[in-house]
Symmetry: C2
Subunit: 332 residues, 2 copies
Amino acid sequence: MATIQDVAKHAQVGVGTVSRVLSGKGYVKAETRQKIQASIEELNYTPNEMARNLFFQKSGIVAVIVPEVAHPFFAQFVNAAEMVLCEKGYQTMICNTYYEQNYEQRYLEMLKRRRVDGIIFGAHTVLDISQYENIHLPIVALDRDLGESIPCVSVDHRAGGRMAAEELIRSGCRKVLQFVGSKRGTEVSTPANERHDVFEETMKKHGIPCRSVCAKWPTADISYYQTTAARLLEDYPDIDGIFATDLMSMAVLQAAMLHRKRLPEDLKLITYDGTNSIALTYPQITAVVQPIERLANEAVQLVVDLIDGKSIENKKVELQVVLRPGSTTMGS
Amino acid sequence: MATIQDVAKHAQVGVGTVSRVLSGKGYVKAETRQKIQASIEELNYTPNEMARNLFFQKSGIVAVIVPEVAHPFFAQFVNAAEMVLCEKGYQTMICNTYYEQNYEQRYLEMLKRRRVDGIIFGAHTVLDISQYENIHLPIVALDRDLGESIPCVSVDHRAGGRMAAEELIRSGCRKVLQFVGSKRGTEVSTPANERHDVFEETMKKHGIPCRSVCAKWPTADISYYQTTAARLLEDYPDIDGIFATDLMSMAVLQAAMLHRKRLPEDLKLITYDGTNSIALTYPQITAVVQPIERLANEAVQLVVDLIDGKSIENKKVELQVVLRPGSTTMGS
């Protein structure tokens, strides 16, 4: 394979001159430029991307850090982000943190060594926020508060929590339960938690008892969901309304059917996220749907703007959720 | 941030000497080595990975090319591959081809420019095999025949097809239907298609009429599955056994429930792949399960072996599938 040295030798110029032609920076005589161009074609030279990136101090890579790409929400998010990044000339590196702080730490160390041009950060382990601010790389957060200086993309989770609560109330629920991501108050700061506060508040306002149960989140561990859902129906037989994320909702639906509960008559169920395959259950579960592809678009646009040195005016991008009526509630 | 030049200046040596110490190649006096080490620590110098990789002509990156990471099979595969690659010191780049030949082409062009150390290739668009052989990079194929020289990892799809057929036969099916990936004979060469041939043969051997219906594959487009499944039940009301992949199986189950069909009494259903969330349906669908995580492990091991210059003896790695009994058949 031809190298830049081969091109320089063939065109009888210095390597620096070829480099200036390739980068389009610095003056090179038209005649010399043509000679180099001819040599490039004759030798079928393809610029080594690594060398070129080293020259520009760019890698052309954006890292997307998520807890687990096997989780449907993150699979869809990464999928969409990759497509938009590709259109904008970037390649996508994925990093699964598996909810482990040391994985998150390791990725951050790797990223500090400037392998990537920017980071979209959607992991949810607990790390000191200052660690992100010290990276000195363009970072955009997905659903995570990483301090004032780092833009965050999310949906309006407060509206989402209210929507879910009101749909269960309209459906006539008397005693409800919601799954919350982790022991509240100890978890990382994410706007996603706000939906749980609003859900609780809304129920309280209507005098409806609301229990919040901690569940591992997010995980793609199916048997965990099944065990948790089955135990729940045994522990709280009088609950008549449940608010959960997609995989847990599927598990609740399965457990309810096994318990011969009728939905929505005996139990109302509303799910959060609205990832692709949740639409394939029977009965269809009423869902608060996040616009995952648009979240990805916004995150990519922001990180690319930061890479391009633009200043970001609006550091909190909040998209709208929508209620998709199913057959597990009867309010809408 | 300190550079290699800063380190050299601080240690009062040449850049080449620092470089030799960093790379561990070439002789450097112990005393000089210690001086450089001290300067590195004092200046808190982190080697620029791009520079170091350029030095070694390595990027430390493996590309995983799939049709669509939002599809559950590929989400799980990429998830597992990333984990193992990370353990082996590689980072994972993902490339979605979206079943578009020009996307596949573009990624191959990009990869030829030596951005990555190796490729795990699981896309399924039609490209001339010689294009892969010309890449001159370590490549491992997932479920795709890319010629003699390129190792391929897959499950034993013939056994999978037989398992599915025999389970439907044991369940008493009289007239069955299977979804096949695309118009057969025109698609890319993938071992996955073999299951359809064996399924058909097995049915024929038992005198059971078998219809093969073309469906887009693989796609994460849910409404496509719903429309196709609904039309199918209308077009072929006398079919009593269906063999499909996970998302289509979920759609068939949903459509069957809407048509008030009882499973397994009126309709038997067996699914292929056995991705995570398929276990959450009610009734649970009998599944031929691919060991997706093990497929990823094998693919990663092979590509790393190739990167390390090892020769691969066994170029066809074939893993076993297992039958997971559900409530949509009654054979096992």
